[in-house]
């Protein structure tokens, strides 16, 4: 971020101290409202970040997409069916050939240039240009990363706020009143629904479950009372060692 950026901290406004008077305390000048250009620039940055996120999401989606090459066609295709695919394949082959030829040409030219070598003076003259290119590239990379982070933080909040605004604008009472509940209920065959529910089974199952829970609770209470009674008797008899409740292993 450059020093001229509006979001950068501005230098505190100080008043020079006159001789014989104490120096005044520096008072920071509050930042002014963002200008139209600031808003445009911010929007552009967020848009770039959102584009980066969308590109990543699209790439991830395409990577997850399974190829259908393993699925055998139900019937053998005819020559006419193969024509579009053949054209696309031909185009891909041509593109690959052109790209490989171009790459080979560039590689050859680069090698030749390296072998020839540039004069020292020319290299020295081009060094600032190369440095500037590196710097700009680094600035672009950092800015894009920051934009992407800002967009990823902004998009969910934007979606939530939009959804809340939409929901708050809805008149639910009016919507519910417009639903023909009586017509819907009249079309439901209540007797058939009741007939499909195994009411006896539900009651039987729930009753058995409640009964089992009650019996388990009774047993647990009995075990707790057993331990309590044994503890009381052992204390009365001044016993220190606990009772031997474990069975000996079967020989």
């Amino acid at each position: 971020m450059s020093a001229t950026s509006p979001s950068a901290p501005r230098a505190p406004h100080t008043q020079p101290a006159t001789p014989g008077t104490p120096a005044r305390v520096a008072v920071p000048v509050p930042a002014g409202p963002p200008a139209v250009t600031d808003v445009l620039r911010h929007t552009f940055n967020v848009g770039m970040g959102a584009l980066g996120l969308a590109r990543h999401a699209l790439g991830a989606t395409l990577a997850r997409t399974t190829t259908t090459s393993a699925i055998a066609p139900p019937t053998p295709p005819t020559a006419a069916d193969l024509l579009p695919g053949a054209l696309v394949g031909l185009g891909i082959l041509v593109e690959r050939r052109v790209r490989s030829v171009g790459g080979a040409a560039v590689q050859g030219a680069t090698g030749m240039a390296r072998s020839i070598g540039m004069p020292e003076g020319l290299q020295r003259a081009l060094r600032p240009v190369e440095d500037a290119l590196w710097n700009w590239n680094e600035v672009a990379r950092r800015e894009q990363a920051r934009n992407r982070a800002e967009a990823s933080a902004l998009v969910p909040a934007l979606v939530q706020q939009t959804a809340e605004n939409v929901v708050s604008q809805l008149d639910f009472e009016r919507l519910v009143r417009r639903i023909p509940v009586a017509d819907i209920v009249s079309q439901v065959d209540v007797e058939a629904v009741v007939a499909r529910i195994d009411l006896g089974g539900v009651i039987r199952e729930s009753t058995m479950s409640v009964g089992s829970e009650a019996v388990d609770a009774l047993r647990e209470q009995g075990m707790a009372l057993d331990a309590w009674g044994a503890r009381v008797v052992d204390r009365v008899l001044f016993r220190r060692r606990p009772r031997q409740l474990e069975l000996r292993p079967r020989s």
Partner: protein, 167 residues
């Protein structure tokens, strides 16, 4: 540790006084009700076949007590020599086994039942002071009573009842 986890950890260990007395009380009640039902069936049969008025047989207190004791001994001996559980044991979750973990023979079960019915107060009261939670009948017959039930998993609090289709 919750009560359920504690109960699960104590399975297979010797049961204490309260559980065993509760199981024995259920057994006595069941046998008593069975005796009442048997006498009712006898009275009904006499009413239907012998053309006599329907009334419970008046055997007297001694005969009734003896019949109750005899029935109790027979029921306990059969149950212990079989599955090792009476109805009361089943309810409380107990099982009678030998000290080595094996099941009781018919003779051992009968002797155990005789002792516990004849000397019930001493036999059961000895559980309180025994280090192994053993009653008098356990010491004589070399048996023990263990917790033997399967604590279920506690149902989730938010589980709702699902409607079931026809079966």
């Amino acid at each position: 540790m919750t009560e359920r986890e504690r109960a699960r950890a104590l399975q297979g260990t010797r049961a204490g006084f309260v559980s065993r007395v509760a199981a024995a009380s259920v057994d006595v009640l069941v046998v008593f009700l069975g005796l009442l039902a048997g006498e009712g069936v006898f009275a009904a049969a006499r009413f239907v076949i012998g053309d006599e008025p329907f009334e419970y047989p008046d055997l007297g207190s001694t005969a009734n007590s003896s019949l109750l004791v005899l029935l109790l001994v027979v029921v306990l001996a059969i149950a212990w020599s079989g599955s090792g559980r009476t109805l009361g044991n089943q309810l409380v979750g107990l099982r009678v086994i030998r000290e080595d973990g094996s099941r009781l023979s018919w003779l051992r079960s009968a002797v155990r039942a005789l002792i516990v019915v004849a000397f019930h107060v001493v036999a059961m009261g000895w559980i309180l002071v025994s280090r192994k939670n053993a009653g008098l009948h356990d010491l004589v017959c070399r048996t023990t009573v263990v917790y033997d039930w399967h604590p279920r998993e506690a149902p989730p609090a938010t589980a709702g009842a699902e409607s079931r289709g026809p079966r």
